[in-house]
């Protein structure tokens, strides 16, 4: 038997904050299974205190699309489709009922045996629910992961197709007269998808400077972003739409003050590399 002790309230607080140790959780489950109004009340109070704790984070909204997605999924999946609910006999979070056996006249050993059986049943059903909930969470996480990987794979295939496209056009950018010690840059452009991959090697801009990539179009240059090299001086910029094949004339690289040109349509610094796109 597990009579109420002050320490049980510590366990209730730990449970409410999700930080309870496994052994403590089992102890608390055993205790609650025997019925403890004080702990039930404490759990309720601590649960509400966590609402206050959560509200210390500034409120934020997700993108509006999420609301539409949730409602769409809700319309497709009506309540009651869950594999296991309280109606099925499995207690759920916050719904585990304290098992109170009706008072019966009988031999003390029988009452004790029934109480012990009730406690074991409560723990067993709670554990079953926990296991079910854990599996469900893992399954959901796995499915989300698969979906994410599939999206990433499709994305990677699309980028790989740039290099393998029969119509791919390649430009090795060469130093202009203004060029100093410049990186080696190769641009691969797929006219079909209009995607481009620009690979950089030996990117070591002077202190306080950045290289910036440009697409040269009929109406002038268009910034494709500042080059951020890794520790080895390598970088890759992927451009989802580098422009129409008839419009894209060349790629160029300028040397800018740190952060890039203030005007996305005009380099502020010298153009140090340029490479025409050839079919």
């Amino acid at each position: 038997m597990s009579a109420h002790r002050d320490e049980h309230l510590d366990l209730c607080a730990a449970l409410a904050t999700g930080s309870i140790e496994e052994t403590d959780r089992l102890e608390l489950e055993r205790h609650l299974a025997q019925g403890c109004a004080e702990c039930e009340r404490a759990l309720r109070e601590f649960s509400e205190a966590t609402v206050a704790l959560a509200a210390t984070i500034p409120p934020a909204m997700p993108r509006p699309e999420l609301r539409a997605r949730v409602l769409e999924q809700a319309r497709a999946e009506r309540p009651g489709a869950a594999p296991m609910t309280a109606r099925d006999g499995g207690p759920a979070p916050g719904t585990q009922k304290v098992l109170r056996l009706p008072e019966r006249r009988g031999t003390p050993w029988l009452s004790w045996t029934l109480a012990a059986a009730a406690a074991i049943l409560a723990v067993a059903t709670f554990s079953t629910w926990r296991a079910s909930e854990t599996l469900r969470t893992q399954l959901s996480a796995a499915q989300n992961h698969i979906n994410r990987v599939e999206r990433e794979l499709a994305e990677e295939r699309a980028w790989a197709a740039v290099a393998t496209s029969p119509g791919a056009r390649v430009a090795d950018l060469t130093a202009t007269p203004a060029g100093l010690t410049v990186p080696r840059v190769r641009a691969t452009y797929d006219p079909a998808s209009r995607r481009a991959i620009i690979s950089f090697q030996g990117v070591t801009p002077p202190a306080g400077s950045d290289y910036e990539l440009w697409a040269i179009l009929p109406d002038g240059p268009k910034s494709l972003g500042v080059v951020h090299p890794d520790a080895n001086g390598n970088a890759e910029i992927r451009v989802a739409d580098a422009g129409a094949p008839e419009a894209l004339a060349a790629f160029a690289v300028s040397l800018e003050n740190q952060g890039g040109s203030p005007d996305p349509r005009k380099p502020a610094g010298p153009v140090v590399l340029v490479g025409a796109i050839k079919g």
């Binding site: 904050t17 999700g18 930080s19 649960s47 205190a49 959560a54 210390t56 309540p79 869950a82 996480a141």
Partner: protein
């Protein structure tokens, strides 16, 4: 909640509008990435939709129940190795729209200000303990190790901190 259990999507919309600012904020705080947070939150709302009958009013308010589900799912997400790997390789998701102006957020903002002030009045160890437990997903022994405090002391800090938050923020002020 009766309407939700009966499959009334209008009830779901109302709950979503009322509680999403709080739920999304905590999920985002825990998982750290907007894309992951949205996935987790969608999962939370589907749980609320399909398993509304698991909410027990004797154990706490609807928002407390939703928060328990949301926090649990968010902690699960950061604990999964797959999620960690994604965090290293995936492109950052768009930033969420912050609730700066909308009228609907006035209650949330007021509550936020109130509880932030309440949290600031806690002893530093109590505050740290609550934050490491609730937002960081650390167990009591992990918190004890992190703070270099005895386990029993951490248990006391947790309880005292929660009691203090509860005293300073009565139920009627919560959303």
């Amino acid at each position: 909640m009766d309407r939700l259990r009966a499959g009334d999507t209008r009830a779901l919309e109302e709950l979503y509008d009322r509680h999403t600012p709080l739920l999304y904020a905590i999920v985002l705080r825990i998982v750290g990435r907007a894309g992951d947070a949205e996935e987790v939150l969608q999962d939370v709302w589907m749980h609320a939709w399909k398993r509304a009958d698991t909410w027990d009013p004797s154990r706490g308010s609807v928002v407390a129940w939703l928060l328990t589900v949301a926090r649990s799912r968010a902690i699960d997400r950061i604990r999964s190795a797959a999620s960690r790997q994604r965090a290293e390789t995936a492109a950052p998701a768009p930033e969420p729209a912050r609730l700066d102006q909308p009228v609907a957020s006035a209650a949330h903002r007021q509550l936020h200000e109130r509880v932030t002030a309440a949290l600031a009045t806690l002893a530093p160890q109590q505050r740290q303990t609550l934050e490491l437990a609730y937002f960081g997903g650390l167990s009591q022994s992990e918190i004890a190790e992190r703070l270099g405090a005895p386990l029993g002391t951490v248990k006391s800090w947790t309880r005292q901190g929660l009691m203090r938050m509860r005293e300073m923020v009565p139920a009627e002020e919560q959303t």
